[in-house]
């Protein structure tokens, strides 16, 4: 399947490259445009309104299920996705799905892959998934082990930048200055500390695994394509999906897509692909915006914009975004990209 040529289809009324499925050739349409789609995670779950994770998981999993002709098993870490999808005695999962612990989804996925191999079920593909807490913090050892062993698992991290399910605590993916229950907006350096946290995608790349990508729920076709690209490969693969959380971020439910897009367009969240440890493509910023545009709609950053506000802190966040832009070549005139 060839990649859709996005540059020819501009829909300025939405300010994005989003297109309705009907305007594309059938093979280029979103999985969600298909009446036959699996609904891997079906309706009736308990996610909040505007939940980025529910949206990202549905698109990613349905794309994976289509790529594997329906032969997918998922291992899920503890977290929002697990809790809202399986309130006893109901389940939203229409694929075989297992939840074990907060920190072991990658290892459980490894075990499933090993069992399938031993049983000669090479048609069935394995997905591990979790939020940022279960992935970049608690489950990080298991994730790294799964990577370095070369296990045949696609791991999906839905990053909403904190422990939202447990009451919005800081994680290793919480951005600087963000207010959480454990990084209060008080003192000289309000919110989360600068200089902490880690980039799981870059660390994944350091394992030189076949495929690493980042994506956001603002560009769901891009997410689907990355899942499809990952499913064409074997071995450990990692996709880090940026999923705004209205509850934890203090944003409007209707702003989930907009915030995801702003994160990309400001350079806060670089969207890229890497193969065998080398960046192989970046999604260019189409219309560069100051980080303030992204920060202002979120109450977790409200302390930066009061009276007198903290323009110095905003400037530091801007400097971080600028570093991302330079590092990944996110502007149109810088380097190769899509």
């Amino acid at each position: 399947m060839s990649a859709p040529d996005k540059t020819r289809i501009r829909f300025y009324q939405t300010g994005s490259f989003a297109v309705g499925g009907r305007l594309l050739d059938p093979e280029q349409r979103s999985v969600q445009a298909e009446g036959e789609r699996t609904n891997a995670i079906t309706c009736g779950h308990r996610a909040c309104q505007g939940c980025g994770e529910a949206l990202g998981a549905r698109y990613a999993l349905d794309a994976a299920v289509r790529a594997a002709q329906g032969r997918v098993i998922a291992a899920n870490a503890t977290g929002c996705l697990e809790v809202f999808s399986t309130p006893y005695p109901e389940t939203s999962w229409q694929i075989p799905w297992v939840h074990s612990l907060f920190g072991n989804a990658p290892a459980v996925a490894t075990g499933i892959a090993a069992a399938l191999k031993a049983k000669g079920r090479e048609d069935v593909r394995v997905i591990g998934q979790g939020g940022d807490g279960g992935t970049v913090d608690i489950g990080f050892g298991c994730l790294s082990g799964m990577f370095e062993r070369g296990d045949d698992v696609l791991y999906l991290c839905y990053d909403n930048e904190g422990y939202m399910n447990t009451g919005v605590q800081r994680s290793g993916a919480t951005p600087p200055a963000a207010r959480t229950a454990t990084t209060q907006a008080v003192g000289a350096e309000p919110g989360n500390v600068f200089g902490q946290g880690k980039s799981a995608p870059l660390i994944a790349m350091a394992h030189e695994i076949p495929y690493v990508a980042t994506a956001t729920v603002a560009e769901l076709r891009d997410l689907e394509q990355k899942v499809e690209a990952a499913m064409e490969l074997h071995g450990p693969r990692y996709i880090h999906v940026f999923v705004p959380c209205p509850l934890g971020w203090g944003s409007a439910s209707s702003d989930t897509i907009r915030l995801a897009r702003l994160a990309k367009e400001t350079g806060i969240f670089p969207v890229f692909e890497a193969r065998d440890g080398v960046v192989s493509g970046v999604s260019k910023i189409r219309r560069r915006l100051p980080v303030e545009e992204y920060l202002r709609p979120q109450r977790r950053f409200a302390h930066l914009f009061g009276d007198p506000g903290r323009p110095d802190v905003v400037a530091r966040i801007q400097a971080g975004a600028d570093r991302n832009i330079a590092r990944f070549g996110l502007l149109e005139d810088e380097g190769e990209g899509r």
Binding site: P87, P96, H99, V108, G111, A118
Partner: protein, 376 residues
């Protein structure tokens, strides 16, 4: 495995014990027979997944090569590791010899898969795991005949999608736990039945709930688990020759705890000594509290002896002295076999002079003046 002699099989080298149990959970949930082994700190590192495997009812079998838990760091044998997991929901079987360890593993898979519950086979670290002794290896065909192919009721399979590991709230959590307990109660019947089947198939008396040794007319009975039973039996024989009516009771199954079998084996005794290789700091004996429950209401003099902690040898000579004191009704309710009380008292003395927090182990080592441990 690499040579294809064990096929089909996958061997996964993991980064931690936590991952080891997690891989076993995934493999078992996907319908494969899963096994791992650990000891000591490794068992503690995987504890969260140990409980999870039991809660999910996955029939994983794990060897625990029993060893001490630090700090102070100590690599030698005792039962602190497995005892810490007595309430994890795993069945716990304790082997007396390497032959029994082998036999228990075969029985463990059958038990685990029949009851859909994981089984821990505990064998004394170093004392058994590093011993070289004769073991009869059963033929693969005989094991296959004894242990049917693993065909779980529910597996992760795209042909029949299921959700495993869903959240269960207050409305049903109690019932799930009752079922877990019920399965262990079923195991009280199945463990001896499987042991009997095993004896029919392989001709060896291995496993079961408890194993009495010369207890019929015994006034004093020593209760213990694992490889120390061998040395205890030697001491019992020695005392029997001198006319002392003493016997021993091996607890092969510690979880489920065979209350009725223990009571039946001990109820006629005057003195019951529980020899434990673990110490529940703050109360004393762990096995003892279980044995006392079994003996509720009986006029039996019970005592706990903590022995063999961190690899201290348990000698027949010390056991003999201990048993004689127990038989004479002179044993205090809690004692420590071959403890160096002088060492303890000197540190207590130092503590009383300076009431501040700080490590004891280093003081005690300095006191012992031990650079290297003694030869024997």
């Amino acid at each position: 495995m690499k040579l294809g002699e064990l096929s089909p099989c996958e061997f996964v080298n993991v980064e931690s014990e936590f991952a080891a149990m997690s891989v076993a959970i995934g493999a078992s949930a996907a319908g494969a027979r899963a096994y791992t082994a650990t000891a000591s700190q490794g068992l503690l590192f995987m504890v969260e997944a140990v409980y999870n495997a039991a809660g999910l009812g996955l029939p994983i079998v794990m060897t625990v090569a029993n060893r001490a838990i630090g700090a102070p760091i100590n690599i030698w044998n005792d039962h602190s590791d497995a005892m810490s997991q007595r309430d994890s929901g795993w069945i716990q079987l304790y082997a007396e010899t390497n032959q029994e360890a082998l036999d228990l593993h075969i029985q463990a898979f059958r038990l685990a898969e029949e009851l859909s519950t994981p089984v821990m086979v505990c064998m004394d670290g170093f004392i058994l795991t590093h011993a070289y002794e004769e073991v009869e290896m059963p033929a693969q065909a005989d094991v296959d005949a004894f242990l049917p192919a693993f065909e779980p009721r529910q597996v992760l399979d795209p042909d029949e999608p299921v959700t495993i590991g869903a959240m269960v709230g207050p409305e049903a959590f109690t019932e799930v736990k009752i079922l877990q307990h019920y399965k262990q109660m079923l195991a009280l019947d199945r463990i001896p039945e499987i042991a009997a089947d095993f004896q029919r198939a392989f001709g060896r008396d291995s496993g079961g709930l408890v194993r009495p040794y010369r207890t019929e007319d015994a006034e004093t009975i020593v209760v213990a688990l694992g490889s120390v039973l061998g040395t205890i039996e030697e001491a019992v024989d020695e005392l029997r020759e001198e006319g002392v009516r003493i016997g021993a009771l091996a607890l092969t199954s510690f979880r489920p705890f065979p209350l009725d079998a223990v009571r039946a084996a001990l109820e006629h005794a005057t003195n019951v000594v529980v020899l434990e290789k673990a110490l529940a700091v703050g109360i004393g004996g762990i096995v003892t509290s279980n044995v006392r429950l079994a003996l509720s209401g009986l006029p039996i003099h019970g005592s706990t002896v903590i022995a063999g902690l961190g690899g201290r040898p348990i000698t027949q000579r010390s056991l003999r002295d201990l048993f004689l004191r127990a038989h004479a009704g002179e044993l205090e309710s809690l004692s420590f076999l071959d403890a160096d009380w002088g060492l303890v008292e000197r540190e207590l003395q130092r503590m009383s002079q300076m009431q501040r927090s700080g490590p004891h182990a280093e003081n005690i080592l300095r006191d012992v003046g031990a650079v290297a441990h003694k030869a024997v």
